[in-house]
Amino acid sequence: MLTVLVLLPTAVAVSLLCLPRGTPRSVHVAWTATAVVELALTATIWLRHPAGGGLSHQERARWLPSVGAGYHVGVDGLSLPLVAMSCVLFLACALYTWRQTDRVREFAVLFLFLQSTSLGLFVALDLILFFLFFDLSLVAMYFVIAGWGHRDAARSALLFFLYTFTGSLALLLGFIGLYLAADPHTFDIVELTRDDPLAGRTTHGALVLLAVGVGLAIKTPTVPFHTWLPPAHTDAPAAGSAVLAGVLLKMGTYGFLRIAMPVMPGAWRGAAVVFVVVGVVSVVYGALVAFAQTDFKRMVAYTSVNHMGYIVLAVGAAGTLGGDGPAGDRARHLAVTGSVFQMVSHGLLTGALFLLCGVLYERGGTHRTAAYSGVAHRAPVFAALTGVAAFASLGLPGFSGFIAEFQILTGSLGPQPVATGLALLGVLLTAALLLRAVRQVFTGPLRLPPTGPGQATTTRSFPDLAWHETASLTPLLALAVVLGLLPRFVLDVIEPASLGVLRLLAR
């Protein structure tokens, strides 16, 4: 079933390429239908996932037996929510681009391929498989940015590719280190987790964790490895940005929870403080730099650095010793659960925000906030949805972001009081910066970017959301509300898995 889930989009993509060129509409229908089927498959898998946790739907096949790598996939409480979130986001992107006319077939093919690689990464239980999907996702995203981006797209795409590719090489080095440490040599994540191959080998463990940590930190991205992110986002097409921030960034933090923590518990505990510091710096620095941005999309990009920083803080705090005893264990459990929840929440919300940025750009031709004022006069629904998305993103209760950040902050405070206290400032800064941008763009007297030199600032046409845009955005925000009010159905899946990670970490 998982294999079908992973390979179906690629199969559709290949058939789109092989079959005679259809109309853009038929391509869109095929793409959207595939995304719907994927979502339905995920729902089925979710329903059949055992309530008690553990890996389910595992599939194995011989692949590269000589090097100890096999095709091994499966889902548990860490990956299942991410798989579901990715499917929702890819469907939203398919709907969002419904009216696109520029090389639709190629765009759809890339996105379908991207969906395969993303889902494949989340279900992979073999390091080489993980690495393969990690790199293939970079290739697909490179072409999305370079082919459909604006302004300096080629350069930004190249920077993105080279930077994250370097990160993936570091990751590969780390994986090889793990492989060599295991006896018998293997790349299987389940076996590596069971064996804890680096137990008692401090130097070897630290080096492997350094390589893996840097590789994943580049992808996440954390300060100071985040500099590829703003240009990539600014120049990427809206749907590309949504997937890049919503799905691809999660590969980094997912890697921490899937590989770094369970497979190298000793090394992780030793270096946990580093991750705490990196997380806090990302939270505060990301928020402060976002505060100074004058470009709406760039600002949203920097808030991703901030939001992903919370996850790094939580997984770091989970590895530290402070707040011992049962209270400490509960706090750490809350923090790790919150970090997984944050990945889902951030995927939905930042996806929505980037799609909204795309709406702004498509109508106004710029992301510069100062170029707009009073857009709500012309596009009230767009204004209302952006306002809701901004409040959701700043962690307002009633939305998923609050459940995530509350768990992370409450859980991390016990183990790491000073760092978490500083991270609280991020909650305030994101509120200030998002509301300032919303006020600038949507309220006040109407002012739009002039259509040409000497043109008035109100002549440009700025239609409100079209149905396909509403249809792609509303489910994302509605889901954020559902997760914010009734989080149990997701938490019931995550909690056993996060408890499992903590047990493995405590070995």
């Binding site: 090097v67 190249l158 920077l159 590719f165 090489l169 590969l172 080095l173 090889i176 492989y179 060599l180 040599h185 100071p224 500099t227 703003p230 402060l288 730099v289 505060f291 100074a292 941005q293 707040g323 049962p326 209270a327 400490g328 509960r330 706090a331 809350l334 659960t337 709500a376 209302a384 409040f391 307002l396 209760p397 009633g398 609050f402 509350f406 768990q407 902050l409 409450t410 859980g411 405070l413 016990g414 183990p415 009081p417 206290g421 609280l424 909650v427 305030l428 800064l429 509120a431 200030a432 509301l435 300032r436 006020r439 309220t443 006040g444 007297p445 989080p487 149990r488 938490l491 909690e495």
Partner: protein, 672 residues
């Protein structure tokens, strides 16, 4: 024991759900919004009366081992009735105030959402639920204050309101983290468990709760946000100032009296903050020449008494103060709102003789103002004495400050009454009557009904001054604050003293109104710029103690830091990592260093001793030298790195593939 209680869930869910639906429906629902909203509010009032009698508790699973709990006890029973009753009155009033042309669905929906969030705050028994109600209330207030979004000022004010209150909300996050870390296995983030924390966790939790409550209640030093909140429509002020938002902080402190008592510093810190706020903001209120700003400052001052009560464990006095103030303040804002709508001004001199010209609003306003003044036998008189008796039992100084603040409240009430009851100026040599051009407000039955209802409640609450009624309230609150039954009651002399002071101030104002000299002095005060220390002090008070300026300066400082960091991010981190040394010659880097690093160093050093300047210069030289070195090295590295950097993707891929091959060989060699 998890039990599901229908009325309690409905109490919070009904206004939230209907409010969200109305706000989401947008202009399509404008026509039916008032009826739906008033109906919902009335139904909620009915539910509030039910749960106030049955006192249910209920819970639902939320986070791992941390359920969401709602409960109604004696204190929250009083609160839910107060909140819902005031909401009904204010919504009734809004039907006329927000005319058919206004965005009624959005307004009424958000008002319901606002009241519903307050109800969640009131019945929350665990911290996550409290925080949810607390912050959603803040967000609703943002949308309501910025209701007139076409103008720039209301939205700016809305951002100030939300960001300021969110700053202090961080205290609740801190308290939750501390409660979990210090609570052991039994820790459930229940409010009732907070006092059992120990050591630093107790300190952290108390500090967090206190800061959050002081911020929400606009106590010192956070009072300035309430001045901004005045940009909302009048009904918003009537609700925000009376039974929701600002009283949420005082309510939380009253509820968590045992937590304040668990630390040695919590009670006194809270009590003194409340007393000083009552005093300072009383002066601010007295200095205002704008009716809405006067009422706003008086809200801070009156809530200062509730905070004081929480700090000295006088929960009964604080609660009575809260309930009576809610009735009086909502009434005052509604009556004043009709004047502002009819005559388009809120300046006191321009509202001269407003009450005289329109007694249907003038009388309710007068009842409200006299209640705020603490005139016997109106409810705030005895409530204040009850809580001041608690203060006297702890500290004479606290009592003296409180009594002075109570006298000030008579002063600012007298000032407002003085203006609105003054006869219109006579034509001889005076400016013509300013209210003449516009006709007095014409009120619909709903508006009149809401004013009469609140006036009756305001006057009827005087019964709270009777000892048997007070004893009943005391018993009602017994389960919240065990031992509050032993709370000292006011001695007769205390009641006589405070009542006498209020009467004296009001009578003095009435008498002075007959003296032309005084009239001239008061009318022209503020119009004439003066240079003396007295004038400076008055200006300082009128400007809300310069607190808004301080806040602006702080926010500008953060912005400057943010911009500097962004420049650093763009120019140093991004480029440095890029390996684009060729685009960044050393002079640029050095210039950046001068601009960013050196300037901030210089900024710090300016005004300090010469030693500091010398050090800064020295440090700068070294930093510059180091940066020059780094830049030179980067340039050299860049030259070397440029060789393979051709900008052609296939060549990069070829390089990457070569790297891969090396790795693969290594890997195969080692794997054997």
């Amino acid at each position: 024991m998890p039990t599901v209680n229908g009325p309690l869930w409905a109490l919070v869910a009904l206004p939230l759900a209907v409010g969200t639906a109305l706000a989401a429906a947008g202009r399509r629902a404008d026509r039916c919004a008032p009826a739906v909203a008033v109906g919902t509010a009335t139904a909620t009032l009915g539910l509030a009366l039910v749960v106030a009698r049955t006192r249910p508790r209920t819970e639902a699973p939320l986070l791992a081992g941390l359920p969401a709990r709602l409960a109604v006890d004696g204190l929250s029973a009083l609160m839910v009735v107060t909140v819902t009753a005031v909401t009904v009155a204010v919504l009734l009033f809004s039907v006329q105030d927000l005319g058919p042309g206004a965005a009624r669905a959005r307004f009424f929906g958000l008002m319901l959402l606002f009241a519903g969030a307050m109800l969640v705050t009131v019945v929350a028994a665990t911290l996550p639920v409290l925080l949810m109600g607390w912050e959603v209330m803040g967000a609703a207030s943002w949308a309501l204050v910025g209701h007139r979004w076409r103008d720039p000022e209301p939205t700016r004010a809305a951002n100030t309101v939300f960001v300021t209150t969110r700053l202090t909300d961080l205290g609740l996050y801190l308290a939750a983290g501390a409660a979990l870390a210090g609570g052991g296995l039994a820790g459930s983030l229940a409010l009732a468990d907070l006092p059992h924390l120990t050591g630093p966790w107790l300190t952290a939790a108390t500090a967090g709760i206190v800061v959050a409550a002081l911020g929400k209640s606009a106590q010192l030093p956070f009072s300035f946000w309430l001045s901004s909140a005045m940009w909302g429509p009048s009904p918003v002020s009537a609700l925000l100032h009376s039974a929701t938002m600002v009283v949420a902080g005082a309510y939380l402190l009253l509820r968590l009296g045992p937590l304040l008592s668990a630390t040695t510093w919590g009670g006194p810190a809270v009590a003194w903050t409340g007393a000083l706020t009552a005093l300072a903001l009383g002066l601010v209120a007295l200095a205002q020449s704008d009716l809405k700003q006067l009422l706003a400052a008086s809200t801070c001052a009156q809530i200062g008494f509730m905070t004081l009560a929480a700090g000295v464990s006088a929960a009964t006095g604080g609660t009575l103060q809260l309930v009576a103030h809610a009735a009086a303040k909502s009434l005052a804002f509604l009556a004043a709102g009709t004047w502002m709508t009819a005559w388009g001004t809120q300046a006191l001199p321009a509202l001269r003789s407003a009450a005289r010209r329109h007694p249907a609003t003038g009388v309710p306003f007068t009842v409200a103002a006299l209640t705020l003044a603490g005139l016997p036998p109106l409810a705030l008189w005895s409530a204040k004495d009850l809580l001041l008796a608690g203060a006297l039992a702890q500290n004479v100084g606290l009592y003296a400050v409180g009594l002075a603040a109570a006298t000030l409240s008579a002063g600012y009430a007298a000032k407002a009454l003085w203006f609105v009851w003054r006869p219109a100026p006579t034509p001889a040599g005076q400016p013509p009557p300013r209210l003449a051009p516009a006709p007095p407000p014409r009120l619909t039955h709903a508006t009149l009904g809401s004013l009469l209802l609140l006036t009756a409640v305001c006057a009827g609450l005087s019964a709270l001054s009777l000892p048997p009624v007070r004893a009943a309230v005391d018993r009602q609150l017994g389960d919240v604050t065990p031992g509050s039954g032993g709370q000292p009651g006011p001695e007769p002399w205390e009641l006589a003293l405070s009542g006498g002071l209020a009467v004296a101030v009001l009578a003095g104002a009435a008498a002075a109104a007959r003296l032309p000299a005084v009239t001239r002095a008061v009318t022209s005060a503020g119009a004439r710029p003066g240079a003396g220390p007295r004038h400076r002090a008055a200006r300082w008070c009128r400007a809300w103690l310069a607190l808004p300026d301080v806040a602006r300066a702080l926010s500008a400082g953060v912005h400057r830091v943010a911009r500097a960091l962004a420049a650093f991010d763009d120019q140093v981190l991004a480029r440095g990592v890029n390996g684009l040394a060729r685009n960044l010659p050393a002079p640029t880097l050095a210039a950046l260093d001068d601009r960013v690093l050196a300037r901030s160093v210089n900024g710090l050093a300016r005004g300090t001793s010469r030693l500091a300047t010398w050090t800064a210069a020295e440090a700068e030289r070294r930093v510059e030298a180091a940066v020059e070195g780094v830049a030179a090295a980067a340039r050299a590295a860049g030259r070397r790195a440029r060789a393979p950097q051709t900008g052609q993707l296939h060549q990069y891929l070829a390089q990457a593939a070569a790297g891969f091959t090396v790795l693969a060989v290594l890997f195969v060699a080692l794997a054997r």
